[in-house]
Symmetry: C2
Subunit: 338 residues, 2 copies
């Protein structure tokens, strides 16, 4: 507020500094050279008057807002119960903080896409990290049309060639999971798969199937969940009812593995003696199950760091430059469930 | 993009529509009357050219971004583990969706305040709902200085007279908790208090103390936690080591009560036979403890709805108008832990 109680204007700043409004504006926005004397006089006037440049006005000049969005096209329930999102956000927030950028979290449920895109077209953020893509959201195409610098964590279903992607090898990781079960002598290996409309769900199922077919074994024992614990318990019950002789399970998330272990325990089936189980994620759940869970470590922290690095580069280059692609390989973590 | 491959400008839209740029701008921003013919011509031109009004430019005219911030001055770890925040966000998101407003979540750890305020000064959001205030953050004063319409959920420590507040009666609720314990015949009643620098922690401790003093009983059995389960277990251990004869506990969150029950069980102390316990929140944890927890229902859903209602009113009135204050009264939910 100015000393007379109203919000100061650029004109008042310029008058007090003894420069033109254009010079005051250039000095404040800091993208054009002004003389050191003018710069100092303007900054003194800004301090004296408590002048706050309007950010929307400033971003017209600098084309920067100092903020980056994380877009999660998921319900808030899932975001708040799956450690995947907490880890992702923690790491993105840490990386952005190092660059003094404000993290802006945008959740978008099905049906919210139009509003989300309207918001993003408004350029209230400088760029976006997008994670958790469903088959029909077409976010890669939409964001590419909007022209907002963005990096996808996990390959989108469509339009992936138009945006930068930091991915992990879900298919390869799932084949590793099945190999561990095969090496321990299991032959009736089921899977609790993730949602078929999500890349991670689809690709892990593919890996499981490929490895079983390569071993000449039955690849029909499939039940689907939605990555949550309860869905894992329900899927496990389905599998046991359909195939009482199964001796191995690959669950596409640790939470679903945890649910499956609950169901197995309730039926008096021992892990790993009767049924061995491999999970996916290793984000704080796997080491606390009984017995601790053999799993694939989802490199979400490294992926998030890399995504921010690529995004900031893209923002610095004004969103131009060819899309980038980086793939991380999940590591097997051996514990006691196999 | 225009048909010639570059982003269309307002000038091109105006030329194609056969109107002035000022008329095109008024037609697009929709706040000023233009003739139906001009309106139709401009909208046709917008469609034909694929023109996207720059949001930052538009918000200079309309002073609206179509988005509302939820500000949580907490670490991401706490936001993702405490059901309070999930419930709050769920309800705010639902209320905003009804008004076609985009929710923008801003987390701010200690040390992030300057960046957060810079972002808010930029007016990239139309207003803010703020929850979870620590003693020294002075957010109410800062936001009031910035002039951004805002509503606090829970009274801030300072500056509360300058902003609208939707509060709940934490002190009164805590006295209810103690009365239930007294009615069940308990006389050595401890409390596991929340952080002393948070209003909810402070006020619930006050209520516990007032009610014990009114009954002429010892009000020295206090241990502090940070609302998390582990901190509740640690605080309970402290209390039991200091006062082996305690027969009642009021925990300032259900998560802390859950931790306390874990500690009691590990020592072979029965709930409610040996020690009765009352929690606080009733947000999905209390009904699943063994035994189910008697608790105070935190009306966070209602508070969030009311906060959004007041905020949207304030935004509609350009942020003018006297600060509002609404207080909800938490309800006692009787289960089996007393």
């Amino acid at each position: 507020m100015g000393t007379n109680g109203h919000a100061s204007t650029l004109g008042e700043v310029a008058a007090l500094a003894g420069v033109s409004k254009a010079t005051a504006s250039r000095a404040i926005n800091g993208r054009h050279k002004v003389s050191p004397q003018a710069q100092a006089a303007v900054l003194d006037a800004v301090r004296e008057l408590g002048y706050t440049p309007n950010g929307a006005a400033r971003s017209l000049v600098t084309r920067r807002t100092g903020s980056v969005a994380v877009i999660l096209p998921e319900s808030d329930e899932r975001v708040f119960t799956d450690p995947f999102f907490a880890r992702l956000l923690h790491q993105v927030a840490r990386s952005l903080r190092e660059h003094d950028l404000q993290l802006v979290l945008l959740l978008a449920q099905p049906g919210d896409e139009t509003r989300l895109l309207t918001y993003l077209r408004g350029r209230y953020v400088d760029g976006a990290v997008v994670a958790s893509h469903h088959r029909d959201d077409h976010l890669a195409e939409h964001l590419s049309d909007v022209g907002l610098p963005c990096v996808f964590i996990g390959a989108p279903w469509t339009g992936g060639e138009r945006v930068s992607v930091v991915d992990s090898d879900n298919t390869g990781a799932a084949t590793q999971a099945v190999r561990v079960l095969l090496e321990s002598g299991r032959r009736r290996i089921a899977t609790i798969a993730g949602p078929g409309d999500m890349r991670a769900g689809h690709d892990r199922l593919q890996g499981w199937r490929q490895q079983l077919e390569a071993a000449g074994l039955d690849s029909s024992l499939v039940a689907f969940g939605d990555f949550t614990e309860d869905s894992g318990a329900a899927a496990c019950a389905q599998l046991l009812d359909a195939a009482g002789d199964l001796d191995g399970i690959f669950a596409a998330s640790d939470l679903m593995a945890l649910g499956a272990m609950r169901e197995l325990e309730s039926r008096g089936i021992r892990v790993p003696d009767d049924v061995a189980i491999v999970g996916y994620d290793d984000l704080g759940v796997a080491e606390r199950t009984r017995p601790p869970l053999t799993t694939l470590r989802n490199p979400i922290g490294e992926m998030a760091t890399e995504a921010v690095r690529i995004l900031l580069e893209a923002i610095d280059h004004g969103g131009r430059g060819a899309p980038r692609r980086v793939v991380f390989v999940p590591e097997l973590v051996r514990r006691d469930s196999v």
